[in-house]
Amino acid sequence: MLFKKKDQNKFEGGGLVLFPAVDEAIAAEKILKAADFEVKLVAPPPALRKGCDLAVEFNIVEKVGVERALAQKGAYFVEILPLKGAGELLDVVKVVNFDDACMVKAGNMKLTFDKNTGVILNISGGGCPDIPYLHLSMVDKKITDVARPKDNGHTLCALMLDRAFVEAAEIFNKEEL
């Protein structure tokens, strides 16, 4: 049982799920463990405390997958936060125009599409293992015909790609009008 044998004391996840009540935190821990996420119940630091005195620590990189797993089981939480650093995800989006192509950058991710056809030409940046998978499933397809990256991805890189995707879709839809 390779994935179950873990020293919980050494686990450093870097992310917290905050809950309104203790029983909701305990239920969420069970849901996430059943979905193979490495998690542990912790007391949130006073500065981050919102809701009850119990939180679930998890690998912050897996934010998208954790949110989806909780939503699928109808689990309610107050907020997901990193334990250190900026509390909010980067929301700065930049747009670079080439002749017939438009590159949208969100954080460390970039999505480039054909301005005339809406076909996704390339996805670049990032480093988490769902990005090559999303690259294969999205590139050379029309931006209006593919699922949002956050629906199929698991990680923060997928979330940044989702931000670029939403902005790119908006730009393409405006140009089509």
Partner: protein, 291 residues
Amino acid sequence: MLLICGTIPRADAGLLIGKARFDGGRLRVGNAEIPCTQGTAALASAACAVAKHCRNSAPRAVFAGDTGGGKGSRLLYDYVSKNLPRINPNILLMHYILPVMGLMKQVCAAADKCDPRPVMMADASSMYAAKAAGLAAQFDIFTPDLSEMEFLADAEAVHPAYISRHLFRAKIARIDELIEAAYRQKSMAKTVIVKGAIDHIVQDGKITFTLDKPDLPQLEAIGGTGDTISGMVGAFIAAGFSHYDAAVAALKANRKAGECARATPATKVREIIAAIPRALNHNENQKGKRA
């Protein structure tokens, strides 16, 4: 021997271990064919092209199938942590993997048991894990792009998605400040190759080389054109180059390959990799003419 460790986008692949072979269009490890997309496949393909050019042995690969759920990444961490002293590579290049701080610490502990300790390289999420776990100083080479350089400069960030906004607004002109900040808080490897509109080589916190020609802004859009640089650096070091010379050769070859491939924002990384042999020959001829 260069050992490349990373994930590939096939959920059912398990672990693939063996020599990496690239025939100009397809990457193979053992009997498995791996799509040459951005990520570790692009990195390994570029490394194969350089190894062939230098008449050096092909890189060895430890790949794990992972589409983001993390099971393949954990298999990979486990295999590397248990087997690295036995494999005893000259260079360990860690690439796409779910960043797990505790497991990256185990990889570094396994590297300490090698004799001699391998040249330690990290790119992509392996670099995220190394920095977040406070292990950057144990690495010889990082290969960030500009947004990842901002992440290295943010003492608190555990992933580029959570860097402070003031850092993300950094312009190229401020790269020296990012380098200084990252070096001060020990988030830098000994050599850092910053890939971007202007490529920088940073050694022990000082910029020692920059490159901005040929100017090909479209390369930024092409997924995998940073991975190719990292793979080529590892392969040049395996062929006996110094870290600095390997970095310079890889940066020049990547830009030249983009030019040879007549890259546009729609170009795929496999087309850039296919042009690497021509780029290497061209750069070598230019060097010969100058000598």
